[in-house]
Symmetry: C2
Subunit: 158 residues, 2 copies
Amino acid sequence: MKKINEEAIKLVIEESKYNKKNNYKNGGPFGAAIVFGDKIIASAHNSVIESVDPTAHAEINVIRKASQILNTGDLSGCILYTSTEPCPMCLSAIIWSNIKEVYYLNTKEDADEIKFRDKQIYDYIRGENNILNMHHIESIEAKKVFDKFEEITDKNMY
Amino acid sequence: MKKINEEAIKLVIEESKYNKKNNYKNGGPFGAAIVFGDKIIASAHNSVIESVDPTAHAEINVIRKASQILNTGDLSGCILYTSTEPCPMCLSAIIWSNIKEVYYLNTKEDADEIKFRDKQIYDYIRGENNILNMHHIESIEAKKVFDKFEEITDKNMY
């Protein structure tokens, strides 16, 4: 295990308290930070209600912020600190951004206890509940778009 | 199964072709739309490279757009159409936004074939690979933030 950045831990706890000042009317009690080397690149808090954006979790916000600051969505080598175990949305965003190391404080079971749906979403992905109805429609035209995409050799992959 | 909106299907295929004009240097071949009743509220395409934002998948973009248009992140009753089976990030965003019905065209196996990592991320969440290192740090202070949160009765939940 790499050396833990104590400053980043203090910061994610601070960020997780940010929405308290408005009695959590603007978002949940969650904070995150991204570190590269010894440097804290960015930090953020949950702003789901304030931003009118169900995707505005602390981790999504901090990944978007760090990408703007570093001018790349490829955050390889960065470490993400978060006040709570990421939900599957944030976990996947972390993987898409090429971050490989995550430190978290509260667990998804803790989040479940304070009535957030993280655990339900994990359970859905693992096939353990049916909170969403997914319908597959076969489409030759959609498949053709993928075929054409494959033919292009100088595209940018991510 | 509800009546399928053929217009929305045409639109998500159109959106999935959007990045072709720049040889997919701005993002992947993916499109999405959100429908409420008979009305298409919003549509979007993937803009991961163009927006310098690894979270800017078609579904995330369209959820953010529809939330701004409807002035709420609660998209209950809306239906999401997407050109490809959502990755776990987008799938979770759909659940967070309270959308319950999703229609998709290409599958995650199709996406795997054109070298996107959707399937790898599903496999990670199901415990079938180890592409991310998650470290839990016990924190009494972080737990206290949750305890205080629970005490507040007039907060906004989502």
